[in-house]
Symmetry: D2
Subunit: 290 residues, 4 copies
Amino acid sequence: MSQREIRTIGIVAKPHKAEAREVLRQLIPWLKARDRTILLDQDTAALAGMPEAGVAKADLPARADFLIVLGGDGTLLSVARLVGGRDVPILGVNLGGLGFLTEITLEELFPLLGDILGGELRLSRRMMLQVYVHRQGERVAEYTVLNDAVINKGAMSRIVELETYLDGEYVTTYRADGLILSTPTGSTAYCLSAGGPIVHPTLEALVLIPICPHTLTNRPAVLPGGAKVEVVQGSEGEDVFLTLDGQVGFPLRYRDVVEVRRAEQRIALVASPKKSYYQVLRTKLKWGER
Amino acid sequence: MSQREIRTIGIVAKPHKAEAREVLRQLIPWLKARDRTILLDQDTAALAGMPEAGVAKADLPARADFLIVLGGDGTLLSVARLVGGRDVPILGVNLGGLGFLTEITLEELFPLLGDILGGELRLSRRMMLQVYVHRQGERVAEYTVLNDAVINKGAMSRIVELETYLDGEYVTTYRADGLILSTPTGSTAYCLSAGGPIVHPTLEALVLIPICPHTLTNRPAVLPGGAKVEVVQGSEGEDVFLTLDGQVGFPLRYRDVVEVRRAEQRIALVASPKKSYYQVLRTKLKWGER
Amino acid sequence: MSQREIRTIGIVAKPHKAEAREVLRQLIPWLKARDRTILLDQDTAALAGMPEAGVAKADLPARADFLIVLGGDGTLLSVARLVGGRDVPILGVNLGGLGFLTEITLEELFPLLGDILGGELRLSRRMMLQVYVHRQGERVAEYTVLNDAVINKGAMSRIVELETYLDGEYVTTYRADGLILSTPTGSTAYCLSAGGPIVHPTLEALVLIPICPHTLTNRPAVLPGGAKVEVVQGSEGEDVFLTLDGQVGFPLRYRDVVEVRRAEQRIALVASPKKSYYQVLRTKLKWGER
Amino acid sequence: MSQREIRTIGIVAKPHKAEAREVLRQLIPWLKARDRTILLDQDTAALAGMPEAGVAKADLPARADFLIVLGGDGTLLSVARLVGGRDVPILGVNLGGLGFLTEITLEELFPLLGDILGGELRLSRRMMLQVYVHRQGERVAEYTVLNDAVINKGAMSRIVELETYLDGEYVTTYRADGLILSTPTGSTAYCLSAGGPIVHPTLEALVLIPICPHTLTNRPAVLPGGAKVEVVQGSEGEDVFLTLDGQVGFPLRYRDVVEVRRAEQRIALVASPKKSYYQVLRTKLKWGER
């Protein structure tokens, strides 16, 4: 895969993260010494003590050739949603741990950046989901997510009924606390807490997991990546919400339809040259070694 | 156990339930013919077409020797909370199915009532939970529940941290969607959806079930009935709620403490002479027969 | 897809199944009246009262253009293993119920056969797994399975250690009762009992499910269909077995390697024109209807 | 509780365990210097280089006032079965880790022994199970277990049918890989792998857990401690075994009945003065701290 030359680098740090300030202090001069143009979103610019250098976060993907995220999986998810269909690789650095998405550690950062600017770049292209909300025949909302779209009941509601269709065919009506519609990438996030399987990120699949289903035989399902899933909010008078990547929320009304399908674009994450997917799993899930 | 004579019978029907109206039309004359005084709560009186005969629902337990609930488990739970410490047996009739708590069917109702008025009464005495909310050292709420007290996050919150103590000793901090504190009776209700075990209703135990825990090794726990559990809401800035028997809600603030322990009183449910606990389980959970 | 003309039809019935005898009594004349040649395996010929007409079961796939299985999923699995790479469709009739693989009922059989002989044939092509056992560098056994290959410990062994590799890369060492390696088709068989997800039969995937793992965070995994999985039996002195489709067994020695990958051939199952995959799921798993 | 004076101390080490030899080298002179009589079972005597000092392992409980186990939970379980009804406390030292039963570490051993010989002894009395096998009306085997009795199928069998009764009343027929009948103490052993809850060791309860049940709604059950459970092996022609504490095996025939009830005797384990039950859970299950 041909990669455009990396001249302009955007940096997004987790807001108010002290460790990020320290990394910025090293990273900015290091990149400048290598003659790269640097763009910071406004919060990151403030953190770096260069408030005048900040640009709108939403503008970064269009203006940068490459993005560096300093934070955790949450920060990376928020950036991934902005990147949309653009082919801008994202390098996720985890400050203080190891993330499923931000798998580069601080120790790896500078040697890896050296390799990348020298032209060596290993990318993991991940499937994303396109999410639409239809209300009375109108499309009222649209999102792209890297991890998951979650439909769930409000805390005071008892149950939600979710009528579910696969490629137009009726599947079942989940009576549950909610339903997760996830990518393989999202299978190691919220899905795991709800009893889902680990789905390899290179698989083309759509994962459907009922949350606390009342019908005990309703189990997680793994569907073909090309599937279209439609879910009808079937509980009148209950509070039901759609949450995107655990960050953005949208209240669903009775008979609203949530449609989920594979997004046309993919996100390109910089992969660690040192750690495999299973090393990350072994560490994060404490599977132990041989 | 000696039972006081049954002279006054209170009846509570599920509001607006058409099947209940039909039962009332038969039940009221049947009881009058046997010289019993009948009390109806206001909604039930309206349903029976005798609005002038209604008394406040909350007054029924003090004024009746015996209560009949026409509806489902939800209606019975709402009556159980009113009964509190009074030794008034409850007969639960399920209209249109079989409940875990309302295990008497319409066909069984009149023969069973005949036996009961004749002095034959088989009761199942169930443990209840006393639930307190403490805020900055003050007790701000108090409830008695037959099934469960559930602490859970609002739909837009990502996680709640619940610091948990058993008899004053630190157990763990659950990072989860929520936590269920249940009686054995409640183990076949919401608990089952959250992956809990079936706990026999005669066991003296307190059941603790994390909902979608992030730590995958956090499992349901069954504690001694005499245990005192305290849970500290440890997530600042998140919406967290306490729900009682799935019916009453109370918003929890940061550092509020939910204390749960066995209630002194028990509820006395009329048991079916024909169906055992395991027959109900087999039917409700579709376990099949030999 | 072009289908060769159906002239010779092989029939395999579940041995000693009384219902099968009745079906054969109708089916054989029906097919003869339509000028088809009929082949029966020896057990089925005996059941039909035509012992002289039987051929070896293993020869059926080479000699027939089409196979009819009367029985249940077990009978169909045993036929599928014989078919191997040949493009002979299998029509599975379930006697006395509904199977995941034998989804045609007796009522549907004759109308469906009429359509099929008339040229209308809807097939569901299913992925199978090739399973090899390597011992000290030699290939000592080889199987093709439609559902699953299961490695499990003997009843008196305490645990088995299974060192697992994906495409040559170390994944983890499962310490468990065993490990299931399954196709999507097998996901609704033994996998479900072991806590696995439902994987849509058209997905190209390999499912890996530890049975009663000691490491509680070891979860079911869904891998790309093109993956090669190798499992090393790492427990010296323990009884460990490999079972193929729940029917054929092979004892594994210490350091034996079980290699599993997608088979080149696929099996072609006749799909019901009336029932979808989800209707079968709803019925078999008692998911209920709208 | 009054405790008899500790004059004679029995020691059982895990066979061939090198770390145990080192502990024995310190422990034996330490106890002799405090004027205690020491008894070693034959394997331990060999390990200590004093083969002439060994007595039969089975005789230790009758001849000692106190037992020290050096090894892991497995070694302690084997000793517990020998102790039977005798009131001889057991101190379990875990060599190289932390056990649920052997919760004393090497660092704690000598200070704790000093306290114990000085009269300070904190015991945790644990419920055990009495297990009988009945065959055609005869009792053919009898065991006492501290953790669990497991009925399971041989590796080549497909399923076992287990007809189950509670206090003489039919519960259900499990169609599964097997069934675990466990004490609360055993709930943190094999039970956890099979999806069971954590049951507090002071609860009087009997835990019943189907292993990979075919009926997905068959869930773990927690029964009153006084319950009698009877399980009929209902699979003709299948290999089925009973395993006691994962150590002793007994082949079950078709229609054999396994009866399980609380044993009259209890085992007295020396509790760590420093670690609570929940600290052990947090460490073993990696629950993390505050």
